[in-house]
Amino acid sequence: MKMFCLSFKLNGKSVQLSVQPAKLLVDLLREDLRLTGTKIGCREGECGACTVLVDGQPVNSCLIPAVKVHGREVLTIEGLEREDGVLDIIQESFISEGAIQCGFCTGGMILNAKALLDRRQEPDESEIRHALSGVLCRCTGYRKIIQAVKTASRIRKEGRGNKG
């Protein structure tokens, strides 16, 4: 078995390590790099809890061999928090709107929301639902999650809060 010299940017910092070809990105993040914010719900690309952003685009990390992110930029949910511990506007909105119960889908929801708001300043409800259609939530019934995204969009637009 041939090991692969993987080099990529993770949450803004360069990372180099030797990986097995069969290592999936979600396992690399959780086990080797100890970033357990990314969750595993299905290992089939059906639940979205494992969502990370690769070059700004949401992908299911359970379906991606780690090797695939060679030379790319990866953002996990841990990467949204600033160095000084200040949370991103989207994270704050999820908290203030009560959009978190067990928290398992939250990382996936927030990262998909971030990808949406980064390219569309004021999405309407159907666009928000479409953007979040790849993450399943068994607790909240989605309503507060959608409200949180609307709130975050408004705060970002008004330029209030921290520029996370």
């Binding site: 078995m1 041939k2 070809p21 999936l24 089939e44 059906e46 379906l63 090797v67 998909n112 259609s133």
Partner: protein, 309 residues
């Protein structure tokens, strides 16, 4: 946790001996030929990776050849009155393409229905074809558009029309152990042409289709006759289905509601879908095929502003 997975048919970990990232098509094809069937092509990987976890090891390979770093394969362009898609066009790119939304909306719409945003960001349209499923959300519109694919191997290129591409469930004209589907081309829907895509699924997202029906029509200048039509459906058999005899029936047909109803009845009679726990019973899908063809022809005609008398 490991022990939970053992009795089930899915394994937790995948097995890949080597992961190769060629920088050019030539490099990829030569490598595949050298590996003599022990390597397999991977693009997005959304079909391949879950497939590798099946315990019957049918999906297991020694080496994966990842073609996503090969430059200039993710184009969507119009040339010489054909629209051409490179094999690395993802479903996200296809659904957002202005060119496709304008001149082949049924393909853009089909691409938008696949999986979830995360899946659409990495899964390729070419991969959807190569997966050989009887009801790919992009395969059915491409079959209705009479698309042709180009398949490359270390021995050269060949072109295969989609109507000859699908062999059986999971089997196509492409051998992913030595060939790469490099591009898909078809004639755009021009003036006087309309199309429709109807899809029946259990949910609004993340759902495999129970029935997909793509229809294109071309009308005469007076917009009172259908000059020609294509009707593609799936899954109603092991491969995507073109209702050829009904297409013949519609050639030069007068546009009125009884013609459309007869066409719909005709298609339903030709379909023989199996009873399926996943996709619905035979009778239900036959009935829905009838409804979809009727609605689909009407919608396609509406697009070209042909009134149905």
């Amino acid at each position: 946790m490991r022990s939970v997975f053992i009795p089930v048919q899915w394994g937790r970990d995948v097995e890949i001996g080597q992961y190769f990232l060629p920088g050019s098509l030539k490099e990829a094809l030569e490598f595949l030929a050298e590996q003599e069937g022990k390597a397999k092509v991977i693009a997005g990987g959304t079909d391949i990776i879950p497939g590798l976890r099946k315990k019957d090891k049918k999906g297991r390979v020694e080496t994966l050849v990842d073609i996503t770093r090969i430059p200039k394969l993710n184009f969507i362009r119009e040339e010489q009155n054909r629209i051409v898609l490179g094999c690395l066009v993802t479903h996200a790119m296809a659904s957002n393409s202005e060119l496709l939304m304008g001149k082949a909306a049924i393909l853009a719409d089909g691409a938008r229905s696949v999986g979830s945003p995360q899946i659409r960001n990495i899964a390729t349209v070419a991969g959807n074809l190569v997966s050989g499923q009887p009801a790919g959300d992009t395969s059915i519109p491409l079959v209705a558009l009479d698309a042709v694919v180009t398949i490359a191997s270390s021995e050269g290129y060949r072109e295969v029309p989609l109507t000859e591409f699908f062999v059986d469930i999971g089997q196509t004209a492409v051998d992913p152990r030595k060939e790469i589907l490099t591009q898909i081309s078809f004639r755009p829907l021009g003036p006087g042409c309309g199309g429709s895509l109807l899809r029946l699924g259990k949910r609004k997202a993340m759902a495999l289709p129970m029935l997909v029906c793509a229809i294109t029509v071309k009308v005469n200048r007076n917009r009172d006759r259908i000059l020609e039509a294509t009707i593609a459906l799936g899954p109603v058999g092991p491969t995507p289905f073109r209702a050829r005899s009904i297409e013949d029936f519609l050639k030069n047909a007068v546009i009125n509601s009884s013609t459309i109803a007869e066409a719909a009845e005709g298609v339903a009679a030709l379909c023989s879908p199996r009873d399926s726990l996943l996709r619905g019973s035979c009778e239900y899908r036959q009935e829905m095929a009838k409804v979809f063809v009727r609605r689909g022809i009407s919608q396609a005609l509406e697009q070209v502003r042909a009134t149905i008398s």
